[in-house]
């Protein structure tokens, strides 16, 4: 049931300004002007499934985790995203493959962060 609460995932990135450009221009995120977030230091972005993420500078991240983060991004069309990113020559770690939740591929950003683009599918239908 939709409770009206928007679930926002934090996203800690090195060089957040450049990383934000990468998210928008290469990975297809959209910056949200609507100030849902109460934190003035974060920037709100959304994936194409309407999930929200708030981008912070990596200084807030725990010091013992310096190897880049791993994030699952929901998509409505995995093969299309893969095609666009392959055309853009992004660092794609693996081709789209089938997992129990749907279809997924992984891509690495220039700062070592790993994004899994997952098209969730309903197999009960």
């Amino acid at each position: 049931m939709n409770s009206g609460v928007i679930n926002v995932k934090p996203l800690y990135l090195n060089e957040p300004k450049m990383a934000l450009d990468f998210l928008v221009e290469k990975l297809g995120f959209v910056v949200h002007d609507d100030p849902v977030s109460k934190n003035p230091n974060g920037v709100m972005v959304a994936d194409n499934c309407g999930n929200f993420y708030e981008v912070f500078s990596n200084t807030r991240k725990s010091a013992n985790d310096q190897n880049g983060h791993s994030l699952v991004v929901n998509t409505t069309d995995c093969l299309h995203d893969f095609y666009n990113m392959a055309t853009d020559r992004l660092n794609i770690l693996n081709k789209p493959h089938y997992v129990p939740e749907g279809l997924v591929f992984e891509v690495l950003d220039p700062w070592g962060n790993r994004y899994s683009f997952l098209e969730k599918r309903d197999y009960t239908d």
């Binding site: 069309d77 093969l79 299309h80 893969f82 095609y83 789209p96 493959h97 089938y98 279809l103 098209e119 599918r121 197999y123 239908d125």
Partner: protein, 289 residues
């Protein structure tokens, strides 16, 4: 409206949206034929097969057929024609890469195949998503390479399905030898196709038996070995699945749907629907679909 495209590698895509069309003496390449709305009738030799949403048909290269669309609602049909070179490359790619064989454990027997059982297959799960995306991109006139990615996945998913629906299931038959088993499986596929094509009519076990060239007793016993249910139970499942599709994607009233899918009694339909999907048809339409 007809849309047709030949891709750079000679794969072809064809979509037709109409209420009435008739094509005789057609000859196919290996092709996958799906219907997203309405229905499409194929006459292949003496056999008549009707493709409804939720299913697709495979035709082998060289098969002659007639194709008809006569539909009250607009039929939305879609076909992929796989070129010989594409098939060869696909098969080579699989048989030559250990990694592929590890990632996609499809029986090597299928990889070597170029002809398949011409029957109706379920368009569910990944292949349903794949075809829906492909059709959208086809109508958007997307780049050939993108369309080709979807066609590759469609074939991959079909091979998986073939392994599951044909090779695995045929092994369940207690037949004496492989050729008897293959022939028996073909006849049981005729029975299945007859039910899928005529689920909306009043059909009996004797009708199914006559169309599959099996005695009623033999049909009943062997059908259960393959599909884990009786022909009658299978027919009920088809009717309920189609009713669910209509509840989700049409404005037909409940009584209209009951008649359209071949039930005679609304209360029996509601009871069976609830048993299968754990919702009444009304609840399903209002809250789930």
């Amino acid at each position: 409206m007809k849309t047709f495209k030949v891709l750079y590698n000679q794969n072809k895509l064809y979509s037709e949206i109409t209420t009435e069309a008739s094509y005789t003496d057609q000859r196919s390449e290996l092709s996958l034929r799906a219907v997203f709305n309405g229905s499409e009738t194929y006459k292949i030799g003496k056999r008549t097969v009707v493709v409804f949403p939720g299913n697709f048909l495979i035709l082998n290269e060289g098969t002659s057929y007639d194709r008809d669309i006569y539909s009250n609602s607009i039929a939305n049909t879609f076909a992929i024609f796989f070129s010989e070179k594409f098939l060869r490359d696909f098969q080579y790619g699989f048989s030559s890469s250990d990694q592929n064989l590890l990632d996609e454990p499809i029986d090597c027997e299928i990889i070597q195949r170029s002809t398949f059982l011409e029957t109706i297959y379920p368009c569910k799960g990944d292949i349903k998503y794949n075809l829906a995306h492909l059709l959208d991109h086809f109508h958007e006139n997307s780049d050939d390479l993108l369309l080709d990615d979807y066609i590759y996945h469609a074939l991959l998913l079909f091979y998986r399905l073939y392994y599951k629906e044909v090779l695995n299931k045929s092994k369940r038959l207690d037949a004496l030898n492989a050729s008897t088993r293959d022939e028996l499986f073909k006849r049981l596929s005729l029975a299945k196709d007859f039910m899928l094509s005529n689920y909306n009519l009043d059909i009996s076990l004797e009708d199914i038996s006559a169309h599959s060239c099996l005695s009623p007793t033999h049909l009943f016993r062997t059908f259960k070995q393959i599909y884990s249910c009786s022909p009658h139970q299978y027919l009920i499942q088809i009717r309920l699945d189609n009713a669910r599709h209509m509840l989700k994607s049409t404005d037909y009233t409940l009584n209209e749907i009951v008649n359209l899918v071949g039930f005679t009694c609304p209360s029996t339909f509601i009871k069976l629907f609830k048993n299968r999907f754990h919702f009444t048809p009304g609840t399903y339409r209002n809250h789930v679909a």
